[in-house]
Amino acid sequence: MKIHIKNGRLIDPANGTDAQREVFIAAGRIVGVGAAPQGFAANRVIDATGLVVCPGLIDLSARLREPGYEYKATLESEMAAAVAGGVTSLVCPPDTDPVLDEPGLVEMLKHRARNLASAHVYPLGALTVGLAGERLTEMAELYEAGCIAFSQANAQVTDTRVLLRALQYAATFGFKVWLQPEDPYLARDGVAHEGEVATRLGLPGIPVCAETIALSRLLVLVRETGVALHVRRISSAAGLEGIARAKDAGLPVTCDISINHLHLCEQDIGYFNPQARLIPPLRTSADREALRRGLADGTVDALCSDHTPVDDDAKQLPFGEAEPGATGLELLLPLTLKWADETQLPLGRTLARVTSDAARVLGIQAGHLAVGATADVCIFDPRGSFKVSPAVLRSQGKNTPFLGAELPGRVRYTLIDGHIAFENGR
């Protein structure tokens, strides 16, 4: 399949491109930018007049819910959501049932995903067996089976000796570890940020120090072991300060935030809206402003959807009993664009956080569109907008605090390995 994308505005953050450029694709790769290679004859011409052509999005956290939670979502439904959202690569955390702690499970997941010929799936292997924080997994075997890094998802390793050894072991092989900093004792029973809103609503709180204490402990262990750490879902200004200091000190640390924490804060819980029940909790507007600044200046390396489809039965409960999480694969691009609109940052800089910067965190060759790159492409209408509703979401999860919001950006085409995986006419 040879594809010619014409008349589009090419934004390729990794290569500093933001200009009208033709893009030529053959055999799954970019073969020409600006000028066609000699003798190029397209089978398909995509007219991208008025549209932005950018690298396919890389989502650093998307739960596909397989295996084990097929009643919440299936690989089919969520991969369809991914391409509809312009996402061409995604990282799935290991908190499935069973947990991704055995090579066979990872191979099966990779195999199932490959058969769908959709977005590239990068599983995170469990750092400890069953995420229980007691025994190490066969990390090297899991890596061979296709795990990109190792994680505890939302679970914690409470035993510091186990954590130290897990990090040492991962560092032995040069594996990166992705952890979410939350002190399990301070966060126990908590359902919302410990602050004014939780006090008013009588919700058990999770203090900011649950994040900073856990982060400090992790950073000490990074220094001790030399392991490369990716910090998932920083939620507070104080936590972000810790990250900035670690980076200044030259520690091998990266971090991400979710689209929810980029745009929302504790006030969005409103009258106990269970859609705003998230892990980590939404914090204050001052925290949100710090996260936005951090994302703009690069202290926060990447923005992710933290896609977590939840069935209605698990959300139609009082706030504290509702299952945490929000669907997000189809909102990653719109909420990146909304952030760009609000901050007036150049589109190239904002899109970098969901393309080239995310690829850098992952350590993969993706997220750019130079000649020779894999042809994972997102083509979207920056002026198009849509209202978030259960009907427009392809994900099986209809749970998001953005229900009813009018968001910018309509994906028109998603190309994966040079084939059209998603196409949406006007």
């Binding site: 609503l201 919700l203 009258y271």
Partner: protein, 319 residues
């Protein structure tokens, strides 16, 4: 954000929390309650205002006193009262909360009085009723988690007004386990809305919630300093579970520093009143000499509670 307690005309559709209700509605409830206090003194203690209506007491958490006072209030208004003690949390086993509600709706309920261990449960029910076009059914929050207990807050306001007449010159202190107290939150909401100029909360740091000053209160950790010149002392119940979870060392130490004794009460104004939502733990948060003393208005609170609940029910039934 639309306040789900009010209907399109701004009238009270449900009573879920005091927060966000205008002062007029609170005053209206207190004014409506006044004549109901006399009904109890008649030979026939009944009014026909809720005749033919079915009131479901839906208690997901055990309670004897609150359920009984709601039952008496509804019966004095001639309603049919059905008591359901479900007892366990909705998520843990069996039928979901909203399935229970749907079933009771199918039994032609007119009003739900809901108590639930989880904050926000009555909101979920009210939102569910609205989403299903059941605007004729009213919800009264009889206590949800740590969040709110609005009828308790209102009966406390009725009591204060009865003894002190004017809210706008008072210093009121709320003492004890504010962190876990839905009563305290409703009291703070009501006192601020009714224009009390100084509200204090008194307790050890482990029992004072984060950023509580943002609710418009002053925080004291020294009880004598906090009680200085106050007109109203509102004691909170301390539950024995608080000794677990490293919140407090012992009931004895709590009593010594935060229990209301005649000696500590001397810091307050000589005509101060002492209130307690019940049930009291004598010797833990309050000394018997105070609980039974001349400043205490704890039993009148109970009597006024029935009138206030009658007022709320009759007003909701009228919308």
């Amino acid at each position: 954000m639309h306040n789900p307690q009010l209907n399109r005309n701004g009238a009270l559709q449900h009573l879920l929390t005091i927060d966000g209700l205008p002062r007029e509605i609170l005053s209206d409830i207190l004014d409506t309650a006044a004549p109901f206090t006399e009904v109890a003194e008649r030979e026939v203690k009944k009014l026909p205002l809720l005749r033919g209506k079915s009131v479901f007491n839906l208690f997901f958490e055990n309670s004897t006193r609150t359920r009984t006072t709601f039952e008496i209030a509804a019966k004095r208004l001639s309603a049919d009262v059905i008591n359901l003690n479900i007892g366990t949390s909705s998520a843990s086993k069996g039928e979901s909360l909203l399935d229970t509600v749907d079933n009771l709706c199918a039994m032609q309920a007119d009003m739900f009085v809901v108590r639930h261990a989880v904050s926000g449960a009555p909101f979920l029910i009210a939102q569910h009723l609205a989403a299903n076009g059941r605007d004729h059914i009213h919800v009264i929050n009889a206590g949800d988690g740590r969040h709110a207990h609005p009828t308790q807050g209102l009966l406390d306001m009725y009591t204060i007004r009865h003894y002190k007449k004017d809210f706008t010159r008072l210093i009121v202190a709320i003492v004890g386990d504010v962190l876990h107290s839905r009563v305290a939150r409703s009291q703070i909401g009501a006192l601020t809305t009714l224009g009390v100029p100084e509200i204090r909360v008194i307790g050890p740091k482990t029992l004072i919630p984060a950023d509580v000053d943002r609710l418009g209160v002053r925080v004291f950790h020294d009880m004598r300093a906090g009680l200085k010149d106050v007109d109203v002392v509102m004691m909170l119940r301390l539950q024995s579970e608080r000794m677990q979870g490293a919140l407090l060392p012992s009931p004895q130490e709590f009593f010594k520093y935060y229990g209301l004794t005649a000696d500590k009460l001397c810091c307050a104004r000589p005509d101060a009143i002492v209130m307690h939502p019940g049930p009291m733990n004598r010797g833990v948060e309050i000394d018997s000499a105070v609980a039974d003393g001349q400043h205490a208005v704890i039993l009148p609170q109970v009597t006024f509670g029935i009138a206030v609940r009658m007022a709320v029910m009759s007003m909701l039934a009228g919308t």
